[in-house]
């Protein structure tokens, strides 16, 4: 990649409110040649810039085949992301990227795939599921396990219904607490691990979510016999630059922005689960 430079200008083509705090921005670089040169792997991210306010790291959720738009699903949590939430179609933002290393989607071909997410809907994984479901024939059994705190946090129900209808695909949903209309499991997502259908020696696990949740899921997968190198996690750390210079995203000896954000568990093992890193 070239020298780190200033952001490129992008236009918001569309804005979809997914839930009260979650929204998707469909962007296109205003310079057509930059847009056509832009390519990425699922799991990579961009630094999105809000004029005068700042930059934040946001995963790319569109399919790499969609060459003329770049989608981001953003949760409005703090100062910059809430600022993004106020933008409308036609507004301009800055974009630098793509950065980092994405999901092992090629390596996972012909393998069983287990996708585990937790917390409040996890955009990076949704892009993986979309990717796999678009190319369903290349992968063996597909398992999707998602846990939410409360059934009301569950979004994209129709997508899950669509995925459930895919061949050889299992969708397991759990809510720690749920209302009467929640047809699925009430309790921890970990309770459902037993229902996953995969061959431990021929599986690629991909997960994303709160580290505590990922920690439990990793333990389970390891116990089930999945090699550490086949369990992939998407990590989140404070990020200022995205290019491995600012030092904020260090996790032990790794820079999450350039060595990750997606890591095989064997690289994280020595520190994973420990606070302070």
């Amino acid at each position: 990649m070239a020298e780190r430079g200033a952001p490129m200008e992008a236009e918001i083509l569309d804005r979809v409110q997914e839930s009260p705090s979650l929204f998707t921005l469909r962007l296109r670089l205003t310079d057509a040649s930059l847009q056509s040169a832009y390519s990425f792997d699922p799991g990579q991210f961009n630094m999105l810039y809000l004029h005068g306010v700042g930059e934040i790291a946001i995963s790319i959720v569109s399919d790499p085949r969609e060459a003329d738009t770049i989608d981001h699903t953003i949760r409005a949590v703090g100062r910059v992301s809430k600022g993004f939430a106020a933008l409308k179609t036609g507004d301009r933002v800055g974009l630098r990227g793509p950065f980092g290393r994405g999901w092992p989607l090629q390596a996972a071909e012909q393998h069983d795939v287990v996708i585990i997410t937790g917390g409040l809907g996890c955009a990076p994984v949704v892009s993986v599921i979309n990717y796999v479901s678009q190319r369903r024939e290349r992968y063996a059994r597909l398992n999707i396990l998602q846990g939410v705190k409360h059934s009301a946090d569950f979004i994209w129900r129709e997508r899950y219904d669509r995925w459930r209808a895919l061949p050889d695909t299992r969708v397991l949903l759990a809510a720690d607490a749920g209302d009467a209309l929640w047809p699925w499991h009430i309790g921890h997502a970990t309770d459902l691990f037993g229902q996953l259908d995969f061959d431990p020696m021929n599986t690629v696990v991909m997960m994303c979510g709160p580290e505590g949740m990922m920690h439990r899921a990793v333990q389970h997968m390891r116990k089930a016999g999945v090699p550490a190198a086949d369990i992939w996690l998407s990590m989140e750390r404070n990020m200022q630059c995205g290019t491995g210079h600012c030092g904020h995203c260090q996790y032990g000896g790794m820079f999450v922005c350039k060595d990750g954000p997606v890591f095989p568990y064997d690289r994280l093992q020595s520190l994973f689960g420990r606070t302070g890193f």
Binding site: A6, G54, V77, R92, C241
Partner: protein, 370 residues
């Protein structure tokens, strides 16, 4: 030990070094005594150098003392290495203007191009510069401002002939003699300087100086004083402390030290290899224009390990452990060596005098091992 130098420059001719650099359009920087310490500033004349001054360094204390002699490089170091010149404390990375229709025009600022010579650089400073080169330049996306600043430099190193009280560069393998990364190196002797060129630009400059070949006695004198400086130093227990420290993440010492640590980040600011930085916008009042600025940051800042709703290192013990284990342990994973070049700055410039060498010793002491 490789030849310390080949030429001899008499003390009264030192000005000619400055003149030769000025004549080649260098902005010449060198050591000056200011505010009770030695700092690098623009220097045109040898009169501005810290003649007859040495530094007495203790944990949390720095004092300049007069020796009464004529030597100009007997001080060992001040709070700054080359870091502020290449990895600048604050710099505009890019600017953006928003037009009336909301369009954003991004622009990178012009970077300075004038050549800059720095006289008085130490071996540890060069080692640290090399580490920063790896960090800022040799990855996938080189950093433009660092590159611009770096390319300007002409470095005149000085081999240390006196060890500072907090120096331990011999134990990290980075000094006291400059081995790489410089253009000219000086070793100060009673009557003058041995000069050694290490680059084409250095050789060209050397040819313009009124030197003569150094005598064998001068060379051995120089070698000896550098060797003595090395022998006088303190030492870290090992060059590779990676595993030893990572095995001790639950050592009680972390918490004990945190009681004294002010979390002020001075250690990271003076450390010549610390590279953390933060980015922020500085918009104009009308909001039409904004500068995106990069500033030195520190892993001791509460916002360093912040991800929404969570401070990864919520207490000083966690911050101190992050600092020390990064510097001395996980740095090996990143750059194949420790991040410490043995300059001792973090010890001297810590307002409460927390001593890195002593901390490592305490962590390694088996009896205290939790």
């Amino acid at each position: 030990m490789e030849n310390v130098a080949d030429c001899f420059l008499a003390r009264p001719d030192l000005q000619q070094l400055f003149d030769a650099l000025l004549a080649r359009d260098y902005d010449v920087w060198g050591p000056v005594a200011r505010d009770g310490s030695i700092v690098f500033e623009s220097v045109e004349s040898v009169d501005m150098l810290p003649v007859g001054l040495i530094d007495q360094q203790d944990p949390g204390a720095y004092r300049l003392q007069e020796t009464g002699n004529e030597r100009v490089f007997d001080w060992t170091n001040g709070p700054q290495a080359l870091k502020p010149m290449v990895f600048r404390p604050e710099v505009t990375l890019w600017e953006v203007a928003r037009d009336a229709a909301g369009g954003l025009r991004f622009r990178e600022p012009a970077r300075p191009a004038q050549k800059r010579a720095v006289v008085g650089v130490r071996a540890c400073d060069l080692a640290a510069l090399y580490i920063h080169d790896r960090h800022f330049l040799q990855g996938e996306s080189p950093e433009p401002d660092y590159r611009a600043q770096r390319q300007r430099l002409f470095l005149v190193a000085v081999n240390c002939t006196r060890a500072g009280n907090q120096c331990f560069c011999a134990s990290t393998g980075d000094g006291p003699q400059a081995r790489y990364g410089y253009d000219l190196a000086l070793t100060e002797l009673e009557q003058g300087f041995l000069v050694h060129a290490h680059s084409d630009a250095g050789r060209e400059l050397l040819s313009a100086l009124p030197t003569r070949a150094a005598t064998a006695a001068e060379v051995s004198d120089a070698e000896k004083s550098v060797r003595v400086a090395a022998e006088q130093q303190r030492a870290l227990p090992s060059r590779d402390l990676r595993d030893a420290l990572l095995e001790r993440l639950d050592h009680p010492r972390w918490k004990e030290t945190a009681e004294r640590c002010l979390g002020c980040g001075n250690c990271t600011a003076v450390c010549p290899t610390c590279f953390c930085n933060q980015e922020m916008d500085q918009p104009s009042l009308d909001g039409g224009h904004s500068e995106h600025v990069r500033q030195w940051d520190s892993c001791f800042s509460p916002d360093h390990g912040y991800i929404h709703g969570l401070r990864l290192r919520e207490d000083t013990a966690g911050q101190y452990r992050q600092w020390l284990t990064h510097k001395l342990a996980t740095w090996h994973d990143q750059y194949g060596r420790s991040g410490c070049v043995g300059c001792g700055r973090c010890i001297t410039w810590c307002p409460v005098g927390i001593d890195l060498v002593e901390e490592v010793q305490a962590l390694l002491r088996e009896d205290a091992h939790g």
